[in-house]
Amino acid sequence: MNKQFGFHEGDSFLHILNPLAKFLSLIFIMIGILIYPSLTLTIFFLLLTLIGFRVAQVPLELSHNRVRFLLVFSVLLLVLQVMVISNGNVIIYLVPVLNGTGPFFPITDYGISVGLVFATRFLLIVLSSMLFVSVTDPTLLAHSLARSGVPYRYSFALIISLRFLPLFDAESDMVRMAQRARGITYDVRSIHGILASIRYTFYPLLVSALSRVDTLSMSMDGRGFGYDTHRTYVRFAKWRKRDSFLMILSLGFLILCVLFSFNILPFPLILF
């Protein structure tokens, strides 16, 4: 099975960080980026994320459908913002003056900058989450969450969703193969084609997923899941100095963003 998403085993710097430290840092940085809308900062973290994929040796194939979808969607976000925001200095009108009517659809500098912030933020949130999933062992994450006081029933929900990610990936490939084997083709550029695609793809996938629920819950309950409020762990993650350092950095970043956004500190121009 060719796994596109999910945990990729490795021994890179990103792999060996404590899962909880990675998880909290990701949340702190995302909150910081959301409350302090700086394009430069967002692009900086986006580049850092792409370097992270490289360092962790996690493939990010631009040719893959879902990665392509993310890129297309972010471009759509940009275009939508540029089209609907009319504030700011007009650079050009999409429809110029014709026979005394118009102009319509102004493209403004403010619209472009807001569009870019939205599009890059979207990419950053999705790609950094993908990187986190790729470099974090779910079992170690569950252990870290349990140690931090999260009941293990909830942390296991995360493990199970990650466990079934490659399975559903493979199942959607299987369903597509089964469609081709029957000669089923549809044109997704038409409404009829989209409906056919939903019917022929999501229906078998949904039924397959639902049919697994009972078996899985019986399998887990039948092996003592929920027997006690605690459980032991064969594999566990240790907290090291580098994890504390990462936490200090990311928490510091979040505090700075809060201070900037509430004007407690003046905006540094370089970051705007």
Partner: protein, 484 residues
């Protein structure tokens, strides 16, 4: 001892699955329960392991006593410390990403200390001879390997009784032999074992008692060996004709793992080819390549005299009928009839002649009464029959079936083999992945044995099986199914 007394159960708004069943399972005992598809064997297994009534709704009458305690007064967690259930679908039972985590899952929940868990993991993997899998990722295992890991994950919780539901369905003959050894080992170690099984030959050598669940009653049963061999003379393939499909020096890899290695194969009209090999030997990948669903990294495949990659999926579908392992993945319509005739509509063959023929076949397969039902509501065996029927509705020349007999009772199995024989008589060819040498010898006129993605042996079933015996793989010659 587990003792069920006057046990009856019915699902909501349904007639009873079984009534007044009495059953005993003692430590050091291996009991087999067999019966036709849909007779309630899996439901009985759920009762004996406490999931009914704890997990499943329905009307439950009677009692089950385990080690002198009434199961009705015990929590599911307490029951699961005593009885473990290995369910039919291995894939859905695995809840973690690593083999080690999966086997540790039960003991971790029962608060076993780390060092003890580590030794239990070793022992469980040793019991199923799969220590090499310990560092593997669970999603990347083959069907047979997953089955082994699920068994190990139950063994590591050290229950006193284990219930296996169709344990040999994905196992190759070597895996079945190992499973028999495991049952003997469990018996020696005081476990009580209940096996729900269609494939009686796989478990009878180690069973102490056999019971049959049929028409809602559980009765003692002495299976009589019946050969599944065809009575009619074997049809010889038409080797003088052009091959229907030919693959020349094809190779295929998943990332760095070679699945098919420089393999050549031609399929001629009149052939029923049994494709056999150990779990993970590349059988399913080969079928996907031959049906144009995967493209080989090297080599070429021709359907008739046309390169398969030059054909559209509709053109390939016109000439081939494919059945995959999981029936759910290949059901697309809302009613049995719509699903069955989908191929005709896609290929523009939904005329009166074809539809009348289709109706006849649906009647023969016992699915006509269910023609308006949702296909997902059918039993596993019925879904499989529907898959087989749907793949043949447009009379393709080549049938490509991946383990079509899994979960089939005697009736379903006979219907599928009859279809293959009729197809052969009409000049068609079939390639069928199977672990069942009875089928190969009885109905196949050629056996191709794969090993590590390459053809190890290719010839008549008898000659290939005798060569396999010389190579130390004699278990393949005894892997027939004495089916119930």
């Amino acid at each position: 001892m587990i003792e069920a007394k006057n046990l009856s159960f019915s699902y909501p708004f349904s007639s009873p699955v079984f009534e007044e069943v009495d059953f005993k399972l003692a430590p050091k005992e291996v009991v087999v329960i067999t019966g036709p598809t849909g007779s309630g064997k899996s439901t009985l297994a759920k009762c004996i392991t406490g999931f009914i009534p704890h997990h499943v709704d329905g009307t439950y009458v009677g009692s089950i006593i385990i080690n002198d305690h009434d199961m009705g007064d015990m929590s599911l967690a307490d029951i699961s410390r005593l009885v473990g259930l290995v369910q039919q679908d291995s894939e859905s039972q695995i809840c973690t990403l690593k083999v080690l985590d999966e086997i540790a899952f039960g003991p971790e929940n029962f608060l076993v200390k780390r060092n003890d868990i580590l030794s239990r993991i070793q022992e469980s993997l040793d019991a199923i001879d799969s220590h090499h899998l310990i560092e593997r990722e669970t999603y990347a295992l083959s069907g047979g390997e997953k089955k082994r890991i699920v068994i190990a994950s139950i063994l590591s919780s050290l229950p006193q009784y284990i219930v296996f539901d169709e344990p040999t369905s994905n196992l190759d003959p070597q895996g079945i032999k190992q499973f028999q050894d495991l049952l003997l080992q469990l018996k020696e170690n005081n476990f009580g074992v209940l096996c729900i099984e269609h494939n009686l030959n796989a478990v009878l050598p180690v069973a102490d008692r056999t019971l049959k669940l049929d028409d809602g009653k559980l009765v003692s049963y002495n299976p009589v060996y019946e050969s599944t061999e065809s009575n009619s003379p074997r049809i010889q393939p038409f080797l003088f004709q052009e091959p229907l499909l030919s693959a020349s020096q094809i190779s295929f890899s998943y990332d760095s793992k070679i699945a098919i290695d420089n393999l050549s194969l031609s399929i001629y009209p009149g052939e029923i080819i049994a494709l056999m090999g150990d779990n993970g030997s590349g059988k399913t990948t080969l079928l996907r390549l031959l049906s144009g669903l995967l493209s080989p990294d090297f080599g070429q495949i021709f359907l008739g005299d046309t390169h398969i990659e030059k054909l559209s999926s509709k053109d390939i579908a016109k000439h081939t009928g494919i059945v995959f392992q999981n029936p759910v993945h290949q059901i697309f319509e809302k009613s049995v009839w719509q699903e069955y005739t989908l191929g005709l509509r896609i290929l523009g063959l939904d005329d009166i002649y074809h539809l009348e023929q289709a109706e006849e076949k649906l009647k023969k397969y016992g699915l006509f009464e269910k023609k308006n039902d949702n296909p997902y509501s059918l039993s596993h065996g019925q879904k499989r029959r529907l898959n087989v029927l749907s793949s043949m509705v447009h009379t393709p020349s080549l049938l490509i079936f991946d383990e079509p007999f899994i979960g089939q009772d005697k009736v379903g199995r006979t219907l599928i083999t009859e279809s293959l024989l009729n197809h052969q008589k009409n000049g068609g060819a079939s390639i069928v992945v199977t672990h069942d040498s009875e089928f190969s010898k009885g109905f196949g006129n050629r056996l191709v044995f794969l090993d590590s993605g390459a053809i190890l042996l290719d010839g008549t079933p008898e000659s290939v099986l005798s060569h396999l015996a010389l190579l130390g793989k004699d278990e393949y010659d005894f892997s027939g199914v004495n089916q119930e």
